[in-house]
Structure formats: structure tokens, C-alpha cells
Amino acid sequence: MTDKFISIEGIARRYPGADGGQISVFEDLWLSMSRGEFGCVIGHSGCGKTTVLNILAGLDEPSEGAVIVDGQAIEGTSLDRAVIFQSHALLPWRTVLGNVSYAVTSKWRDWDRAKVKAHAQKFIDLVGLTGSEHKRPSELSGGMKQRVGIARALSITPKIMLMDEPFSALDALTRGTLQDEVRRICLETGQTAFMITHDVDEAIYLADKIFLMTNGPGAVLAEIVENPLPKDRGRIDLHRHPYYYALRNHIVDFLVSRSKTFAATVANHDPRNVPIVRPGLSEPTIVASPKMIEASPAQTIAR
């Protein structure tokens, strides 16, 4: 918490209601992330998580409060903050290379054609689309389209990568491989990333910090869960780690029950000092006692 690379400071978002009043999506939201961290927001639909991301991207403005990135309050959109859209949002009249080049020329206006092409090609290769440069989005599968979206976002070498449920429209296998790619790229490049999801396993695999939001309207950031799993975790043996079920149960419990009752039951919730939770062996779980997990052969495999 010492180095606040991203700092969301007391933002609120309200829409005019039908009866002339104001409907508040969320109020007084504080959130911060360090450089190189991967943050995930989890919450039910309508809790305003997409609004938070749009505000971070500069596509939406908070009704109150400010967002500070790298020491500067943000104002509108910026090439420092790349967005990977849920619907991939590729320009269908451009080829794969054309879509990535469009982003590259937007960032570096004075680059010549060859330099733009070489730079774009580098990122197309990075996401594993070598050979498909001249295809149009309509000729690509859903997973390949989202790879182009990732290449386009990375090609402008942003300070932060913002992802709005980027894999929710994909099938499970494609989603898995793309999660691997994103994790590999983020670890290799030290990319700071902020992602919205409602897939608990996706959050556990990718995120360093998981932000739990209660149900809207009037949503609050209830808890910050620090991921206790090791940095070099793999998607395949993730569930064998002794901390995995404690972490997963904690998040699922929150989504199933506490996200609804949080506002009513927790009276002294301070939005500026949201409790940080680090589920581990001591966390009581429903499935088994910690002793049983410790003794289980799963642990030896994970270690």
C-alpha cells in the first residue's frame, strides 16, 4: 500500500432517477493498486464494476471524487490506459494487422509505415496470431478476435491494461488458454492490469488482489482479498494448493450470501480502510478442517 500507482479516491457515480431523484450506483469508493499488480473486481451484475472500469478508462466520469494514476489525476481517455473490451470491438473493415496498426499509429503519429508494421507484427506474434495478419475479424474465431484485442491493447505499451470481462463470451477451453497468455504476458512485462470478472477461478488464477463488491445500487467495496497462492501458480494444479479452497470458499461465500447482507450487517464499514483478507490455512472452511487439508496428499503434489 506504500506505492499507489493507481488510486481511486472517493468516487461516486449517480444517474438521474425516474422520479427526478438520483440513483446511486456506488458512493465513496476508495481503491488502490501498486505498479505491476494484477487486480480483479468481482461482484454481481449491477454493482457498478463496469462503471468503475469505464471511469478508470476515462470513458465515463465520476459524479464525485477523483482517480489518480502514476501521480496524476486522470482526465478523459488516455493512451496510457488500454482497454480490452468484452465484445473485442475490432474494426471489421480492417485486417488483424490493420486493427493493431491503427492503435500503433494513434500512439506514434510520426512513425513511418514500415516501423508501424514491424511494431504491430511484434504484438501479433506475442499473442500467437502469426500468419493471420491479413485476415479480417469476420474470418476469425471468438478466441482469435479477443487475441487481436489483447495485441491491440498491448501494442501501445500502456501503463495499465483494463479488461472488462474479456473472456466471458468465450468457451471454457479458449478462455483457459487466453488466461494463460494474459498471465504470461503480464508476468513477463510487469504489466499493471485491472480486470472485471464474475468468474471466481479466473480471479484466483490471475489476480494478486481481488476486490469484492457488494450488490448495487449503493454498492460498496467490502473487502480486498490478497491472493495467498504463489506467483508461479499454474492453472492445472491450482486447485491442489492447500490455500486454494479457503480462498475460493471465502469468495464464493461472499458472492452467495454476504454481498447481499453486507450493508445491513456491517455497521462501521470505513470505505477508506477496507479490510484486507488473506485466506490461508487458519481460515475456517466448510468442506474440511485445516488439519485434514494439511494431511491430504494434495499438498505434497502442489509443493
Partner: protein
């Protein structure tokens, strides 16, 4: 299967055309009564009265006359006797000029209306009132103010082609997907570059559809406009030949108007296909 379908369709088309020509030929063969008259009087009356020939020309008459026209389409024997090529050329030139002016006005204005909700609302009542006015209703006003019949015809073409293009452009621009606009916004693309690199390609199919509707209407209106202003053009030719009671020439002109209209539509259809993108 497709090629065989196309082949069968062509056979049916040809059969229908042959049947049409056959019925036309039989019904204009001439079964009229022949009156007895002196040779001098017969010369005045013509074949309709003397030989019982139908007053309506048959397909053979039209074919022979058409061949005559096609052999020398560009002759010019004074104001009332010009080749069909020249007459069509005048009409096409008027349509092209009026249409081109309409493109210059309608597309930028459509962009403005599509991109700005303020102008969209402010200009809407004017468009709603002006759009349903028959283009020919403008003719007297145009003749009075412009004082030149040829330019008035071009103005009428302009006013009739402007509305479909304007409405389609503004609709296409306003309906560009929010996510594509957001891509441009997150890449800090400026307004002008955004208009040319995102909005124009995204709205191009809709704009071209409007242009295609416009060229069709313009070609419909030019015939009527030229009948009114006179002088030159295929519309004037039709009216002039009606006054000459040359039904053969009127039929030939009708045929050519249809063919030129089809060609104009096909050209625009090809442009539309060029800018259409698969999603």
C-alpha cells in the same frame, strides 16, 4: 445447383420475353377496316386507314426504328431532331450535376446531424416538412428565381436527391456502434481522424444505400422535369415525339430510360458492395 437455377431462370425469362413479343405482334398486326377512298385522300390518311394497319406500332416497327437510332445515335439536325445518344447525354449530365451537388451538401450535413444531437433536433422539423414535397413543385419557384430552365432542372434533381442521402447519412453516422467509438476514444483519436477512420467506414454501407435510392429518384424525376423545361434531354424527346404522334419513338425512349436507370442503379450497387464489410 445455383448455376442450374440461374440457367433455368434465364430460360423462363427468355420464354416470357418471347411470349410478350408474340402477343404484342399479334395484337398489332392490323385487322382494321379498309375504307374506300380516292388515291389523293388515301395519301393524306396513311396506312392505318388504307391498309388496315394498327395505329399501335408492333415489335418489328420498334425494332427497325431502334436499329435506325442505334446506327447514328449522335446526329444533330437542329433543335427538334437530335440523336438519342445526345438526348440521353443531356439527361445524364443534368442528373450527374444535380446529384453531385446533392452529395456535396447531404453527406457533410448528414455527418453533422448524425454526430450532434443538437443539430439533429434543430434541423428535424425542416427536414420533415421539406422531404415530402414533390420535387416538381419546386419547378416554378426555381424558374422564377434562377431564370434558366436548364439550371432549374438541375436544381430539381438536387432537391430530390438530397433527402434520402441526408437521412441515410445521419442515420448511419448516429448508429455507429458505441464500442467502435470507444476504441477511438481510448486511443485518443481526434474528432476529424475519428470521423474518417471509424465513422465513415462504419456508416459507408448505409450512406451508399441512401445514394442508391437517390440516383433512382433523380432518374425518375429528370424525365418529368425535362418534359416541363423542354429543349433537350430524353424527357423532352418523349414529349416531342408524343406531339409528333410517333408512338414508336416514345416506346424506344421508354425502353432506353429503363436501361439507363438500371445501369445507374447497378453502378451504385457495385460501390455499395465495395464498402460493405462482413461482421
Amino acid at each position: 445447383m445455383t448455376s442450374s437455377l440461374r440457367f433455368r431462370a434465364a430460360i423462363v425469362s427468355l420464354a416470357l420475353f418471347a411470349a410478350f413479343l408474340g402477343i404484342w405482334h399479334i395484337s398489332t398486326r392490323g385487322t382494321g377496316t379498309v375504307a374506300n377512298m380516292t388515291p389523293e385522300y388515301a395519301k393524306l390518311m396513311g396506312l392505318t386507314a388504307t391498309a388496315g394497319k394498327s395505329a399501335m406500332p408492333g415489335p418489328l416497327d420498334v425494332g427497325a426504328k431502334l436499329w435506325e437510332h442505334l446506327k447514328s445515335p449522335f446526329y444533330d439536325n437542329g433543335p427538334n431532331d437530335k440523336g438519342l445518344g445526345i438526348q440521353l447525354g443531356y439527361s445524364i449530365a443534368r442528373v450527374a450535376l444535380g446529384y453531385f451537388l446533392a452529395v456535396i451538401v447531404a453527406i457533410p450535413l448528414g455527418f453533422l446531424i448524425g454526430m450532434s444531437p443538437l443539430f439533429s433536433k434543430a434541423l428535424d422539423p425542416f427536414i420533415q416538412v421539406l422531404k415530402p414535397i414533390s420535387p416538381l413543385a419546386w419547378m416554378p419557384l426555381a424558374l422564377y428565381t434562377i431564370k434558366d430552365s436548364s439550371i432549374s432542372a438541375i436544381f430539381v434533381i438536387f432537391i430530390c436527391s438530397v433527402w434520402p442521402m441526408l437521412l441515410n447519412t445521419s442515420f448511419g453516422v448516429a448508429a455507429v456502434r458505441k464500442e467502435w467509438i470507444n476504441v477511438a476514444r481510448t486511443l485518443e483519436v481526434g474528432t476529424v481522424r475519428r470521423a474518417f477512420t471509424v465513422i465513415l467506414p462504419a456508416a459507408a454501407p448505409t450512406i451508399l444505400t441512401g445514394m442508391r435510392i437517390s440516383i433512382g429518384i433523380a432518374w425518375l424525376v429528370i424525365v418529368a422535369a425535362e418534359m416541363l423545361v423542354g429543349g433537350t434531354g430524353i424527357g423532352y424527346f418523349v414529349w416531342n415525339e408524343w406531339n409528333n404522334l410517333s408512338i414508336t419513338n416514345v416506346i424506344i425512349a421508354i425502353l432506353l430510360i429503363g436501361i439507363v436507370g438500371m445501369l445507374l442503379d447497378q453502378i451504385l450497387a457495385r460501390f455499395t458492395r465495395m464498402v460493405t464489410f462482413p461482421e
